[in-house]
Symmetry: C2
Subunit: 347 residues, 2 copies
């Protein structure tokens, strides 16, 4: 008998529910539900009573229950290779911001460029009945493809763009980026141009870029030269590459395109320390336009991917698919963005 008046419940969180609010406001619980989802359809008098009750009880709608009942949750899952990577962060940020502006929440996981980890992330997300899913790149394993295809929700592939694929894609052509860098150097008069791959296996987008570079080289009757460093750490890998390509006798690349700015920065610093004049003796082009790239001496010529735009446009396309926003006039499956070549001192 020393129990408090309220009967101890065996289940439940103990927090106020929609029914508690309804009771206090003396309305039906469904009216409270409408108060939150379609405020316009509730009479002003009742709205006021409900508002008061909500405030008094500190009621917060249980979105888990709501999601179950309506079978459409308001979370959107995103799988990104590397959250702390310098380029994906902006995509996450703009994606999350655009979504939350429309009442959706971001569920995030990273794959570290591993198809297996990507699969398990997608599988875990699917259990949350997300309204949509975003993945990075167009390379997935069979199981992931199947999960994505049968999910029955909008799926967007970001950071890559390939004609003739079914899913919505928001990104740019890595092949075109490779071409862009090679053409730029060719136009400047360089002929012995090399390409340095990422030492992180699994970064298949970098392979596309080197293919683009190789295509331009062959187009001009030149021999492509792709170097793949073995060092794990990017700065070290860059150093290793420039030593192999431009330092020492017989090594005389006139210009080098790097798979990313980390590699380029490592090469740039190692090259200078070894007395190599950049860009006079060897020009350097990176990819990514990281925060440090304009600060290097010489500052780094690089190609800037549209990270922020990708996140925002992906979110907009999803919201259109969900009917939250009116469909745009253009074919929303095609979202080919351009990368900007930032001309600085290193090339």
């Amino acid at each position: 008998m020393n129990e408090s008046a309220a009967p101890r419940k065996r289940r439940g969180s103990g927090r106020a529910t929609i029914h508690d609010v309804a009771r206090l406001a003396e309305v039906g619980s469904i009216t409270v539900s409408r108060y939150f989802t379609e405020p316009g359809r509730v009479a002003a008098k009742r709205s006021a009573r409900i508002a008061a009750a909500v405030k008094e009880l500190g009621y917060v709608p249980n979105l888990v229950a709501g999601g179950l009942a309506s079978s459409h949750g308001r979370v959107i899952g995103m799988v990104i290779p590397n959250i702390s990577g310098p380029i994906f962060a902006h995509t996450i940020q703009s994606f999350s911001d655009t979504l939350s502006r429309h009442g959706y929440q971001l569920l995030l996981a990273s794959s570290y460029f591993s198809a297996k980890q990507e699969e398990s992330a997608v599988r875990a997300f699917l259990g949350w009945k997300p309204a949509a899913l975003v993945v990075t790149g167009r390379f997935h394993n069979r199981a992931t493809e199947k999960l994505l295809n049968t999910a029955g929700i909008p799926v967007v592939e970001t950071w890559d763009y390939q004609p003739r694929r079914k899913p919505i894609q928001v990104g740019y052509s890595n092949h075109a980026v490779g071409e862009q860098a090679a053409r730029y150097l060719y136009a400047k008069g360089y002929r012995r141009i090399a390409f340095v791959q990422n030492s992180v296996a699994g970064d298949l987008s970098a392979v596309d870029r080197s293919d683009g570079y190789a295509a331009v080289m062959r187009e001009h009757g030149l021999e492509p030269r792709v170097y793949v460093p073995t060092a794990e750490a990017p700065f070290d890998a860059g150093k290793q590459a420039i030593e192999a390509l431009a330092l020492g006798r017989g090594k005389h690349a006139e210009a080098i395109i790097f798979a990313n700015d980390n590699l380029a920065a490592g090469a740039l610093l190692a090259g200078q320390r070894a007395g190599l004049k950049i860009p006079e003796q060897c020009a350097i082009v990176g990819f990514g336009d990281y925060a440090f790239s304009p600060l290097l001496l010489p500052s780094l010529t690089t190609i800037r991917p549209p990270g922020r735009e990708i996140g925002e446009i992906a979110a907009l396309r999803i919201l259109e698919q969900l009917g939250v926003l009116p469909a745009s006039t253009q074919d929303s499956r095609l979202n080919l963005l351009a990368c900007e070549l930032i001309e600085r001192e290193s090339a």
Copy 2:
């Protein structure tokens, strides 16, 4: 009559449920549930049948329904000021990784150093019945405090540490960081030491750092000098600061501590361009150890916050609180980490 055999359902996602699996495997649905949550308690024979049925139907457990039934979801919300900021990304990454290793998912939102946005993010998260919540810093508005206090779930404050606060804290003392920088410069013989604030209002942690700096100055009978730039963009603000403090006649700070590495980098580049010798004429200390800091010329002496550790330890403390991991022996409310002063060329 041309309808397919399966009756069209009015609600539901149409995907296989636990009951479909149970029917196919000829077991009770609760056994399927146990197959996923406590595999050890299901006999091998039935396990095999269930596994086959799961595979055939492509069944993925509905975590929304599970969360509702068990009243404890497996998502954990995190509010961070700036996802794309150079220092928080590592925290997010290590936090997310540690959680997902234990079957929890990360729900992410950003506050942009705005207490109001933080409040709305917390409110939105609460509706998802998260297992725990992580916020950044110890400064929240009243409403957020109340939401956090009455949530009835573990709450962790990261990136700051203040004795005598109730919530679990994982971070470092910004005051101590300010002291650390000032003592370092004092020990090197500098006396006219200034501090440059962040121009982003709302970054209250930087205020703690300047307080720490001021305390050390007064301790040595020196006058603290805190400069607050007005320029919005960090590089510009840094430039503005060094012009005000070290360039031109009568301006002769011997050393400057900056609220972050962005400001310091802006100052460093502007100073050099103006012919200022660093560190001979003016030493510079930053905060954050961003990716570019070791690449600058001169490389930037700075203080490195333990971003990765914060994320991982926060996750571990949460998992302990949830009973997923055994409680650590130490008082888990106290997680004071140290920041490392990275001595480079600029000071």
